[in-house]
Amino acid sequence: MSNKQTLVVIGNGMVGQNFLVSLMASDIEDNYDVVTFCEEAIPAYDRVHLSEYFAGKSAAELSLVEEGFFENNNITIHLSDKATMIDRENKTVTSEKGKVIAYDKLVLATGSNAFIPPIPGNDRENCIAYRTIDDLDDMKEAAKISKVGAVVGGGLLGLEAAKALQDLDLITHVVQFGPRLMSAQLDDGGAGLLKQKIEELGVSVLVDKNTIKIVDGDECKHKMMFSDGTELETDLILYSAGIRPRDDLAAQSGLKIANRGGVIIDDNCLTSDQDIYAIGECASWNDQTFGLVAPGYAMARTVVNQLAGGDAFFTGADMSTKLKLNGVDVASIGDPHASEPGSLVYTYQNGVEGIYKRLVVSKNNKLLLGAVLVGDASGYPILSQYYLNAIDLPSNPDSLILPARSDASVGLGPDALPASAQVCSCFDVKKGDICSAIEGGCTTLGGLKKETQAGTGCGGCVALLKSVLDCELEKAGFEVNTDICEHFAYTRQDLYNLIMVEEIKTFNELLKKHGSGSGCEICKQTVGNILASYWNEFVLKEEHVGLQDTNDTFLANMQKDGTYSVVPRMTGGEVTPEGLIAIGQIAKKYGLYTKVTGGQRVDMFGARVDQLPLIWQELIDAGFESGHAYGKSLRTVKSCVGSTWCRYGVDDSVGLAVELENRYKGLRSPHKIKFAVSGCTRECAEAQSKDIGIIAVEGGWNLYVCGNGGMKPRHGDLFATNLDKETLIKYIDRVLTFYVQTADRMQRTSVWMENMEGGLDYLQSVIIDDKLNICDKLEDQMQRVVDTYQCEWKTTIADESKVKRFRHFVNSDKHDENIIFVEERGQVRPANIEERELAKAEMA
């Protein structure tokens, strides 16, 4: 029939799947009919993050397989079917369920088994390995009826398993055969401190314990008996005492097996049979097996390349490791044991802060051979650079592990953040991780995101990420490239000035005069934003549409399931009963989820793109306006109830909040702007955490600027006191316009202030003393924006050609059938992936 060859892959684990994905992405995918056997009931999942299963990750979320991957690529996968025999003579693979597949090429990716120590009683009930999702399900079940758990093995994985037991609320013990935790990676000093730290987490650590048998317990289910006569009672036992390559199938078929286990492969990843490759944990290269994913992926790439006739080789892998266990920093580089004759050792120990560092250097004091860091692994990036690249050490290598005694704080810039400061909370990326990626050669924002995942979740940390990057590059002596992107060799401020001075009104004009290429989402958004700040034209005008982020294009915020939220403005958080009723009715009619936001207004979620104009028509009819929740613009002016009702109120905070919100609504700015007005110093509106905060006092209004909640909270600076309303508004006009003109893209006022040379004093001298003689211009510019305000939704709805865009399909009135909701607490929410599949299956 087909002249394709058949490629069989045994094992669909992390490496097997990675191989399939690389193969499908290559040019040779069409050369093969691909069949894969997967012993487990589900296809490949992320074993590295297996422990997150206990922190609430579902099997579906751990999956490494894109929806439709096997179908779309015509790969036949036999789930729950194990390959049991390879007939190399006739080139067939036979499975447990009786399938016989003839192969041309075969890839073994059978991984490892957890090593179960051969102790009598090791197969008692609730004695479980820590390797698969099935194991974890067993653990969960067992934990339900257990109080105490013990992990056999104190290596990297064992400690992770201990954490899992703790997450299951068990009293947790780690039982280590040898004298040290993480014995492969740590020396005595490091291991001793690590033990102390693990114990501080509430896990008991037993070292030098040789379990001789497991028998019935008195208080618990089991009793572990140790050779020194002591014993431990436990209900659940987890084995994490190392791994054994699964080479039995290969061995049966006569492939060469390494003495220490593993199918022997050469640099091409070929086994002793020219048609059979082995990759991942089951393979042994140079008498070495690799218990990490990265080397497995490198082998997978090698095989794809080999099949395509390339000449890539597998060249081994660095086994340095860094472990992050809830507040315990441990890293190990190279050979920490100083096993090379003549090697020298430096140690730094700080009992107060619980830090241990050890360097192993070559006889001539020039090269780093190994390192151990416990308690503070911030030096890992730099040290691994020295190690991996065999860079000459400084003349005093100990300077690399001695603390830098610069207690004088350098301010709050990115440089002053400790390496342990969390920059990205979505992915728990610390400043140290980012620096390490930068050291590793990641010198662009995009590269950093890819490398560390920082900034790829909610995106809220990108500004900070960027300033860490700039700061590190600057420190490393790179010239910091402040170009906003590859299309414009200018900063945002440069572009603003160009637009202002040359009176440029469109992106294309600017691109033609000062840029190159066709632009990207960065420069388009930035320029769109500047044009909107400066000229304040309708953002969906033909020439501006393409410059808007999806949220601005559809004047609503896209949610995770592709639907949108609808946020009408409620100035000062004030809303009439009629308004509330209208919102309620509209939400009910369109089946929207409603929630009171943190910004004192009501958000309606779950609107399909095609419903947006209909919903907004009704909102506008009920007297509402766009809330600009989508724009880089004024969001809300929060208020407290103030002197109108509150017995302590000094002035009418709601009245002022409404007036200010109406004045600045629609103003586009480098990032969003938030205000709050409190009626007295009790500060119920939390004005000091806002970009612009105002508090009523006996003598007038106090103005605070550049506060921030969010990722990195900052209290606003008291800017001026006892102001009358007119002066207050004048100052706000000036501050905001100055911010709009001079800030970087995506820079909140807080960061703008932090980076401003001269800080608060300078800003006051510009705004209050008019030192630069620009205040008239600043005020005029703001007045122009105020005078040209329009409700973008009103303008949009009035224009049929604009409304047309709000259809899901350009050629059909159907809507996206993949948007599915389920009910929760009496309202809708987006279905998760499993629920979506279920619903679709029911519909089909």
Binding site: E67, V545, G546, D549, R805, V810
Partner: protein
């Protein structure tokens, strides 16, 4: 096997932006560039796992036309559908052309 399906008129496209068309039950994102060239890829965002790519911003990376996902901002080549951040991920790319004032899509056709 090549089959060109009439989808919409050129006026229905939005220059410098995208629209989504339904072609044989596939959601096809069609992008109309500043230079009037057109590209089509599948509308499914493999990272966000929803059908939204037509609503992403377009432009180029080193001359290669791309769309940036509206959800998590990964970039996809409009020519090949390959993700710039992770080459192992790609979305299907389709043939698309302008014939007179009509826009036609070919699900089996390679992109230009």
């Amino acid at each position: 096997m090549s089959k060109w399906v009439d989808v919409c008129s050129v006026d229905d496209l939005q220059q410098n932006s995208g629209v989504c068309a339904l072609v044989d039950a596939e959601q096809v994102a069609i992008f109309y560039m500043e230079d009037k060239s057109v590209y089509a890829i599948n509308n499914y965002d493999p990272f966000g796992k929803v059908h939204v790519l037509s609503r992403g911003m377009i432009g180029d990376i080193k001359g290669e036309p791309m769309v940036s996902s509206p959800l998590y901002k990964q970039h996809f080549s409009l020519k090949t559908g390959i993700c710039f951040e992770d080459e192992s991920v790609n979305v299907a790319s389709y043939g698309v052309r302008i014939a007179g004032d009509r826009v036609e899509v070919n699900l089996n056709g390679a992109a230009q």
